[in-house]
Symmetry: C2
Subunit: 424 residues, 2 copies
């Protein structure tokens, strides 16, 4: 029973042990759109220049800037239009002195030209429609480079603007697609099994027997991890006896990367997780963390599989899932940045409780007031209070022994803000 | 060709017209976990009290507080343990004076008892294990209500803590599941078709023909809307001739709620959207918006279907998708709050360009510095620059004629922050 006597370790040390252990799963090559929500295993080298040719930024006329020197209302420069090029077309003529090529937005700029004059800056002489064979008049001098985006100016071939560990979202999809990257190497989606332990739980429908309560941790964890894009199997519940837990977790570990259980971890008469880990030959990463709620949080590993045994109290599950489970799993999924946004905020409300020698986490709501983060932790912080989840988009972190007052700055995890994508 | 002469309208007016038109799609009843990411059509009335019975918050002993009056180290109160109740169990005995029921965390509190004394506050006399038939000693008086969560205290039956229009995420799933709501009525997932127009585009793999560019808007939009949880069909591309666009959009409108096209909207020779909308019998909501980038943005509706014709320039697509498309679609998907977070932030960097009589939107990066929002819009803001998307998690909004300097406060849309969930 030595495992029962573990001393709680600091939250930073517990997180460090998880992150040190966690490594990305296998790399798969998939079409770009199927990779949405996954993390890049490698930052692809762009195979093409963007744009792939010198391109007009406006509907207008490709001209030689030198031709237009001195153009003014009184002394217009007259050019003859020798060709028309639409986006998708390709010029066949070269712009010689005295000529211009009508060039639409996105169309290639004809050789010989070094500027594009927008339609609205061009005057059409009597009888001219500004089309091939017509004359146009310029009344403002053009400068070399005007309204032209040079080949490779936006994204040069061979560069890697989106790095390994970035999450593939719409912006990354646009950047990669435009340079011809239509398949990417990403870390495959995690496979996670969720299991709630406890004879008191009812997971399915139907009336509660006396003494039973509904399983809320299973649906919460499943929803949380589905929103990350992972494959989540909700195994429902099992008895919190060692034998049942060992059997259920063994099966889940064989088919998945991660097993998340809730319950059966604390020091009561029927707590079984440390023993089950022993029976499964797992190495304990830690057994208790000096936090409230969530102190009996236990993590075990075996090979490349990990078992997060979260405490059964809903608030403990909520807090430990955000502090340990999600960031560790994001790292396993290949993320370069795995934590939610951490900042400081002015405390607007707090629960009535005194300091303790543990790191406290208050479920709270953070928002911006005139550009400044403020946070309200005034709701009931009871571990068993699920109502404290309503609107809780943040955790206030209170170090051991501290007891911040309303109006003071506190450390806050902003849970809804995704890990930062790309360095800017 | 009257449609071509439309005056641009203000961004607020254009958004108002979209939101006024948009109404939620049909309501479906689905299991809770399948509803993840959907918006609730109705806030369910909780069918059960949470907790469903008076419940112990600690491992300990259910006692009569009156019995413990005057308990101290010198004058302990001795009680006899008459029963043991685990979580999931149900007491069969009543706590009479001089008795206690051993009661584990989450277990029902036996009738007669009005307080729970935690294990750690109980002394065991010589030979007692504190189990049924043993005696225990209390050395601190208990107060009525100690460590008991009363039936319905957390969430009372009949209340509706999660309202219509809230997005179903992990917190909402926990709150509803715990009160026995295992199915919810949500607005069904949107069906969206994405179509890129332009003969210059290459959507699939293979080398570019001279003058062609890659389709990046399609993958970007598809990724954006997949991350919202909607059913997105990427129809690839079609020619930007009226006939092709009419045909492609007609088919897409029949099978989906929304068609999003890019390109073919501006005043060039080959622009066709207004004509196509006319041919399809659609009502124009607006044809131009006084913004940059994105001015030729056009929206048409017919019955309960909507066509967003976004400009083809990638930056225009990016900006208009965030300002018009996503919020309108979120409202159609049942959201109560459809916009991303809007706040003010201190401007850290800005592009070199002068004021214009349009509302400008700069792709930018927002973050928190010591709890205060700051934003950097120092990247190239060219409409055709896809590299400007890298790390752009925000849009800086600059009103017509204004030209904020570095160090000033500006309005910012924080694109990655989801619409606020529940009022707190």
């Amino acid at each position: 029973m030595a495992v029962r006597e573990a001393e709680p370790i600091a939250v930073e040390e517990a997180r460090r042990r998880c992150f040190e252990w966690a490594s990305p799963r296998e790399v798969v090559r998939v079409p770009l759109v199927e990779a949405v929500g996954c993390y890049l295993a490698r930052g692809p080298e762009l195979p093409e220049d963007v744009p792939p040719f010198d391109r007009s930024l406006k509907d207008g006329y490709a001209v030689r800037a030198a031709d237009t020197a001195g153009a003014s209302d009184g002394t217009p420069v007259s050019l003859i239009v020798i060709e028309e090029v639409a986006a998708g077309g390709w010029p066949t003529r070269t712009v010689e002195p005295g000529t211009a090529v009508r060039t639409m937005t996105g169309a290639p700029v004809a050789p010989g030209a070094d500027a594009v004059v927008p339609l609205e800056n061009v005057r059409l002489p009597e009888g001219s429609a500004g089309r091939e064979g017509d004359r146009i008049e310029l009344v403002i001098p053009a400068r070399a480079g005007d309204e032209i985006q040079r080949r490779g100016d936006d994204l040069p071939k061979g560069s890697s603007p989106v790095g390994a560990g970035e999450r593939l979202g719409p912006r990354e999809a646009a950047v990669l697609a435009t340079a011809g990257v239509l398949e990417v190497e990403v870390v495959r989606r995690l496979r996670v099994a969720v299991l709630s332990t406890g004879d008191e739980l009812l997971s399915g429908p139907g009336p509660l027997r006396p003494g039973q309560i509904r399983n809320s941790n299973g649906p919460m964890l499943a929803a949380m991890m589905r929103m990350e894009g992972w494959d989540v199997r909700d195994l429902g519940q099992c008895s919190d006896r060692v034998e049942s837990v060992v059997q259920a977790v063994r099966g889940a570990l064989e088919s998945g990367d991660v097993v998340v259980t809730t319950g059966a971890v604390s020091v009561g008469d029927y707590d079984v997780v440390p023993h089950a880990m022993e029976r499964l030959g797992m190495k304990l990463l830690f057994q208790k963390v000096a936090i409230r709620p969530g102190k009996p949080m236990t993590v075990g590993v075996k090979g490349d599989r990990i078992w997060f045994a979260l405490p059964g109290n809903p608030a403990s599950t909520f807090v430990t899932a955000h502090l340990f489970l999600l960031p560790t799993l994001r790292k396993m999924a290949g993320a370069r940045v795995w934590d939610a946004l951490r900042t400081i905020a002015v405390l607007k409300g707090r629960p009535s409780e005194g300091p303790i020698p543990l790191t406290r986490y208050w479920r709270a709501r953070v928002w911006l007031e005139a550009g400044r983060a403020v946070v309200d932790a005034g709701r009931e912080q009871l571990s068993a209070a699920i109502s404290s989840f309503l609107g809780a988009n943040a955790l206030v972190e209170v170090p051991p022994g501290e007891d911040p007052r309303v109006g003071e700055a506190v450390a806050v995890w902003w849970l809804d803000v995704p890990p930062a994508p790309i360095g800017y």
